[in-house]
């Protein structure tokens, strides 16, 4: 679909016609995703939002080649998703921090660097740098179980960014955190994103979080998972506490909420409106005639 020479100028991630069905014994049980098309531009912060079971995490996992689509293609930097994974183009952050207790905080951040075959001095330098970035420089020798949930998730972010992946895939990374910590983590992520210029795809079920962070919010409906609307977030950056209190922010939150609410019911709405329109037209014609 994508011409190879368009890779440099084209989107970082191109999702084209992706379906995902889960079947048991040859019978389709769930249609998780249907006809998903999505382009993500370099340096963009894009959120996927939708009700539980809308397949937003599945879509993220398909982009990251942790599962494969039933139909359609995912192209990353002009390559198939599997190639991109083998080239280590992805940094993953899951809902759970997925840190290894037998490693110190620093050694957890070093893990991907070991797999990439970096030498020891370079690994240490980078791990320290990344932990400073997430403001955990004092905790390098701690073990994960000695940290709070928010701190653990920051370690996971440092680890995901340590090898400078082209794309950061975040699957509800702050879903398990309390509201206060979540807001602080949002600011943290934005700061890191602005400093590193990474492309981020961020799955969440929190509307305020999606609007606050993103340049675009992709709204999905459930069963089958479809993209119902893409909301452009034109809030100025850098975003701050003032952003959360601005009028435009509330308007965008409302827009996303309404898009979510109408998701799945939009077909009925369209039908009714078409019907009403024809009745109106008939009445008008009748009145004229």
């Amino acid at each position: 679909m994508t011409a190879p020479n368009s890779a440099a100028a084209g989107p970082v991630v191109r999702v084209a016609g992706v379906d995902k069905t889960f079947s048991r014994g040859g019978r389709v049980v769930t249609k998780a995703l249907e006809a998903i098309d999505l382009d993500v531009v370099r340096g963009e912060f894009i959120s996927l939002i939708g009700p539980s079971g809308c397949g937003k995490s599945t879509l993220l996992r398909i982009v990251g080649d942790l599962t494969s689509p039933s139909a359609g293609t995912v192209t990353v930097n002009g390559k198939p998703a599997e190639r991109a994974r083998r080239d280590r183009d992805y940094g993953m952050v899951f809902q759970a921090p997925v840190l290894f207790d037998w490693r110190t905080v620093e050694d957890n951040v070093k893990l991907p660097l070991e797999i990439l075959g970096w030498n020891a001095a370079r690994r240490t330098a980078r791990a320290r740098e990344m932990l400073d970035l997430v403001e955990l420089g004092e905790f390098v020798k701690h073990h994960p179980y000695q940290l709070s949930g928010g701190m653990q998730q920051r370690v996971a972010i440092a680890r995901a960014l340590a090898f400078e992946p082209a794309i950061l895939l975040m699957d509800e990374p702050f879903g398990a955190l309390d509201e206060m910590t979540r807001e602080r983590m949002n600011d943290e992520v934005l700061r890191i994103w602005e400093q590193t210029g990474t492309t981020v795809i961020f799955v969440t079920h929190s509307i305020p979080e999606a609007v606050y962070l993103s340049s675009r919010v992709v709204v999905m409906s459930a069963r089958p998972g479809r993209i119902t609307k893409i909301v452009d977030v034109d809030l100025p950056r850098p975003r701050s506490e003032d952003t959360r209190e601005s009028r435009r922010y509330f308007e965008l939150v409302t827009e996303v909420r309404e898009a979510l609410r109408s998701g799945g019911a939009d077909l009925d709405d369209a039908g009714t409106m078409a019907g009403t329109g024809s009745i109106d037209r008939a009445m008008a014609e009748g009145a004229v005639g």
Binding site: G64, L66, R85, R86, D87, R88, Y90, G91, M92, F94, A96, P97, V98, L99, F100, D101, W102, L111, P112, E114, I115, L116, H142, H143, P144, Y145, Q146, L147, S148, G149, M151, Q152, L169
Partner: protein
């Protein structure tokens, strides 16, 4: 994401769950924790002594603790019931058995963790074999490897040790959090890398838990093997022969020595666990 309730107690916690800050700041367990247990132990010993005096119990029913200690001293290293050399010989058999059983258990565990087909064949067989009262094989082992050969006792111990090591290590290698595997997949890590960096560290707490149980089992295996005959200077023979000579104070002294050997053996493994995987103890909250 199932919590790992092992066949044995105190299997390690699953990483990434139920964690809060501040678990680390805990100091060493204070003497106060052990004090009640020590008091009860001393109380029982004193109680037995008093009971022996009060009821004028015959030695062949229940010798007083002081009599047992006296017998231990009198038969320490010389005479017909030389206890220390016997304990050392038994310990040697148990150790050999522990090593054999652990090595074979580990080999089978790694094979079954690596190949699902191996798991399908080996695990049901191992479980079935474990249901057999393995002690019943002791006379056969003596027959196969020679009554006087310490190997026949060591193999009894090895057979007992094998199962908990195999079962627990397999569990530790296989029951890795799916998210950990996804993380490694996102790094395009090889199976070998995953084994080294995720599965083996994950299995270490399971291994040590099994090894602590195995120390006791290896001594049981060796002593039971000895009951059925063999070299005279081993704990099992001391127990059988002193009992048939109605020298029950010596029998109890031999049992006491066996118990102390087992406890020291266990503590050594527990110490090794603290050294090799200090984070596991901290996770359990008993640093």
């Amino acid at each position: 994401m199932s919590a790992s309730a092992g066949p044995l107690p105190q299997t390690a916690g699953v990483p990434g769950r139920g964690r809060t800050a501040g678990q680390a700041g805990r100091g060493a367990r204070s003497l106060g924790t052990y004090l009640p247990a020590i008091l009860v132990f001393v109380g029982v010993i004193v109680g037995l002594e008093l009971l022996g005096n009060l009821l004028k119990l015959q030695t062949f029913i229940l010798p007083k603790p002081s009599a047992v200690l006296a017998a231990l001293g009198a038969n320490w290293s010389t005479g017909r019931f030389a206890l220390l050399p016997s304990a050392l010989n038994t310990l040697q058999e148990a150790l050999l058995g522990l090593v054999i059983g652990t090595v074979v258990g580990l080999v089978v565990a790694f094979a079954s963790a690596r190949w699902a087909s191996a798991r399908g064949i080996l695990l049901p067989l191992a479980v079935a074999a474990n249901a057999v009262p393995i002690i019943a094989f002791a006379p056969l082992l003596n027959n196969w490897f020679g009554l006087l050969n310490p190997l026949s006792k060591a193999l009894m111990a090895a057979v007992l040790v094998f199962f908990p090591i195999m079962a627990n290590v397999t569990r530790g290698l296989v029951q890795v959090e799916p998210a950990s595997l996804e993380l490694m997949r996102s790094y395009a890590a090889s199976e070998w890398t995953i084994l080294r960096k995720v599965r083996i560290p994950n299995a270490l707490p399971y291994f040590f838990t099994a090894l602590k149980v195995a120390t006791t089992l290896s001594l049981i295996g060796a002593i039971v093997g000895e009951y059925f005959g063999g070299s005279a200077t081993v704990l099992g023979r001391m127990i059988v022969q002193s009992a048939s000579a109605l020298k029950f104070d010596v029998t109890w002294a031999a049992i006491l020595l066996g118990a102390v050997t087992g406890i020291v053996f266990y503590l050594l493994v527990a110490l090794a666990e603290r050294v090799v995987i200090p984070w596991a103890a901290a996770l359990r909250g008993d640093t």
